[in-house]
Amino acid sequence: MSYTRTQPAAATADAALAQAPAGRAATPDQPTALAARGLVKRYGSLLALDHVSFHAFEGEAVGVVGPNGAGKTTLFGALAGTFPVNAGTIRFGGTPITTLGARDRNLMGIARTYQVPRPFRDMTLFENVLVAARAGGGVPACESVDHAAEILERTGLLPLANTPAAAAGLLDLKRLEVARAMATRPSVILLDEIGGGLTEAELVTLIELIRGMRASGLTIVWIEHILHALLKVVTRLVCMAEGRVLAEGDPQEVMSDPAVRSAYFGSDPS
């Protein structure tokens, strides 16, 4: 077995580690930046997360894939503290954060972006980033302007700094999501489908940006449908379907797994 197949209830991050495949055998002793065990999230009768365990090592880039409705975004919400989970535990470094709210988790160093951008519409892009820098990044007032400007430059938004968010286009708002998350100076960043709708050239820039983030020591978890972009950055892939982790491990092996193929293409081609 070259990846970990998750059984409901039985799955834990430790189990994932114990069964670590050869492809990433070098890492079991590495400290985890973010580890979740047995997460359950119910919406009425729908089980959006069905005992999901997930972990990301410090400085690692993990990709999350899966068909629509697999629970990827719900996983992000649970990790970022947008809503409480019904069961399971989440640890950040060694600290349990399961009961903390989104703000406290952000102050500890977890940032996330939204798949559908949610900017502060009556502010300029610069002010959007400034809010995140001051509140989440704890950047002192005197440095916050430079900090915000630097992040706008890195995300290619500097020419639009004084555009109101309400007037910015979708792609710029997607970049703004990344900029705002970066401005809070996180150690773990959760990116939710930031590549969708970008041209090839823009994707190259985005990949450069994320590689740069990773080079600066950031732990990256990235949900993305554009596999070839994702595979240029991540070293481990987690595939989800119907609220469960279907497979995880080396990207190529995960993608060639029959269960993953069946989840994506409807039926097992073999």
Binding site: R103, R118, P119, D122, M123, G136, A181
Partner: protein, 325 residues
Amino acid sequence: MPDAFLPELLQPLVQALVQGTLLGGYYAIMAVGLSLMVGVVRFINLAHGDMAVLGALLVITLTQGLGLPIFAAILIMLPVMALAGYGMHALLFERAMRGGFLLPILVTIGLGAALQNSMFGLWGSNTRSLGADIGALSWASWTLPGGVLVGQLPVLVCLCAVLVIGSLHLVLRHTRLGRAIKATSTDAEAAELCGVDARRARRAASAIAVGLAALAGVFLAMRGQITPYSGPAQLIFAFEAVVIGGLGSVWGTLVGGIVLGISQSLGGLVSNQASLLTGHLVFLAVLLLRLFREWTAAHGGWRASVRAWTTLHRGRFARRKGEKA
């Protein structure tokens, strides 16, 4: 008073316009806190007017009961009321907001009734005023060319309104707290993810709103008389100013207050009763215009929406014609 500068017929009109504008300053102070609550905190505080009266009664007790100078009394009252606003949000409004959209309305109606009756119990039903405590300021006026009289107190109140609204604008735009309040109002969840303390931002906004209501109450008691039950009427004026000026817009509130003040004083030229009625009618007209514009915007311009409406109701008209025939 005939004057070469202003024809005799126009003089009352100009007088009404000037007085209406200045009256609008008072309405704006009253309304800007409400606007902050409705537009930013997304909370409708129906006890807003009663908090204004409470602030005024506190100042009256500090000056007339304890003999403090009025300025000192206001300086003591404002932080007390702001703190009360902060506490009320933390203890009452937050819980009410978790109970859906109806609960805040019920809770604040109840809070208003409780405040009115507590004030009645503590201060009695006598009408009270701060007019005697500000000396000549309450009646002194300047005469403009053309014989237009301008009261000094209304000018002071109006200047104060510009100052208050201007500083609120600057605070919302340029301070960390202000940006946190604005971010929370647009998207509380996203704001929390950016590290903004949404709860604290809402509490702070509530403190500002109640403090400004209390300041407006003091001006109300300086201009005229108040009783423990004066609050609800002031709340209505404040709501009208907020709606005329546009929800949540800080400068719009000043415009809304002035439009309301001018309509009332122009109506007052006809008769005393027409004064308030004109204000309400202008409010209704603006409200209908806003609804109409929203409706046309949703249908792609007013031509298209009229066409859509007639298409939708064509069958009904046809049937009526048929019945007549």
